[in-house]
Amino acid sequence: MATTLYEKLWQRHIIEEKADETPLIFVDRHLIHEVTSPQAFANLKFHNRSLRHPERTIATMDHNISTRSIEINAAGEGAANQLRTLEKNCKEFGVKLFGMGHKNQGIVHVIGPELGLTLPGTVIVCGDSHTATHGAFGALAFGIGTSEVEHVFATQTLRQTKAKTMKIEVRGQVAPGISAKDIILAIIGKTGSAGATGYVVEYCGEAIECLTMEERMTICNMSIEFGAKAGLIAPDNTTFDYLKGKEYAPKGEIWQQAVNDWQQLKSDDDATFDSYLTLEAKDIKTQVTWGTTPGQVTQVDSTIPAPEDFSDPVERDSCAAALKYMGLTAGTRITDITINKVFIGSCTNSRIEDLRAAAAIAKGQKVAAAVDAIVVPGSYRVKEQAEKEGLAQTFIDAGFEWRLPGCSMCLGMNDDVLTEGDRCASTSNRNFEGRQGRGSRTHLVSPELAAAAAIAGHFVDLTQTQQKNGA
């Protein structure tokens, strides 16, 4: 029978599937961090249980660390306690930890791929909803809660209900200047914030296939923002070329076996999905969110919608509430919205290609006087590379702050928070009320647009600017 990529991954990982029990699947990699693991370790200890496969578990510090100092104490008392607890737990249970200042430290979804820990055909979980990022490699990757973290610790398995399948095809090629972030925001704009709840989504089509691995990660990363259990992209030569030689990727003969196996990982031509969505790449414009869910998004060359633009009463109410919270008036042109904060970073957009794209816009320019802008690389490897290429200096010269790696202002668990009324152009993934700080207002955008907004002090239509400049 013809099957989808998801069904192939599912089938490969089934340990037990019987009528009266939720299926049990094997977990190949478990990524952990300081915030969602302590209670799971504590329960293991309470029940006197051991960690079944410490070697399949990798820890990093990312969520609440300072981006100004590598000292644990710089994160504040509560955070420091969590970070020390992680250190202690990793030591006690034999888990490899990339702690403060380690060359492999960084945001969990940035380091997994760059170290070759993320492999096609694997099941990867983490107590973090953006685990979907790793689906870019054709891995079944999803976020879990702390009780499930404990379950994986003790058994290296999870109980999972089989998801429905959705195929999202982006046909043709996007226009120059349209980024992966614009593609995924455009998709979420079509589906709404819960459009894929209960589904595993597979992205395909020419516009997806021609993306680099880092761009594919940006796409899959935001799968959770429209409710998907996971996002997938079938592995291909782009995937294998990216992984070859990475620190933890298979080597030698095993590498060849792996690639042979991974080449089978794609949906059969005649496989059927439970749901389909098709977008024409050429129609995708630069995206900016205007509301308080990622689905409340529009094009940079348009205006803020009005509640009465929505026929669904719940959407109408949500729009009215979002406009009130965001301090926006219907009909305002997006390019007339002024911002005073810019955040370039997060597991969505903090990789080297993101920083190159933002630096290309910032080069030779100055951040507007009214704007504070920070750039937070996703990992120490990204940081080192950006410094080597001169990108860090470009940012510094333009007036951006160049920080140490971490999750930073994406969720503001450290001191990188906005204050009430701040309006931020952010390359992160959530524009929820209060996400970046109580009363703060977040607009999700691409790294290019974030950099351009930092310089102009408001959103700009980069495609217009480039046309004017003859670029």
Binding site: T22, R49, T197, V314, R435
Partner: protein, 198 residues
Amino acid sequence: MDKFTEYKGLVVPLDAANVDTDQIIPKQFLQKTTRVGFGQHLFHDWRYSDAAGTKNNSAFILNKPEYQGASILLTRENFGCGSSREHAPWALQEYGFKVIIASSFADIFYANCINIGILPIILPEEVIETLFQQSQKKPQHFHVNLAENVISTDIGNYHFKLDSFQQYCLENGIDSVGWTLNKLDKIKAYEDKMPAWQ
């Protein structure tokens, strides 16, 4: 985990769609290493009119006198979206919620609820609308019978669906880790057959 069989409680109608887990428990309260101490911070930014959480926002539904002691949360679509933080259901549970009713839940949040013994109930949007109208008019008590998969209210009985194994776990307060540890032979058999690269 406590066993869940039947329950009757006061319903509070939280009239908002897409309530995310950042809203349920903001990030500044995630720095604990225990599962307790989250209830006081539930819906912090809505519940308190100051950042320190010292002044109740009297307009927020949970602060209204008629909904004090509520233990059944009625809400709208896509409840619990966003971050996977189990701190969100921990906060709801510590506050006193045993049942959450919505037209849909985010997947991770739903699983987290089941895993700690909160019953998430999905009902069609038109039923949710009816329940909102009813409970906004006058505070209501709903009765939930898990064995029968029925919610009883003054105006009608409503059936809901639950995965049979999840229902079994809730009804019997199953330690799911212990349950799976009884299957180590099957896990071992799987591991022995894995390719070298995996």
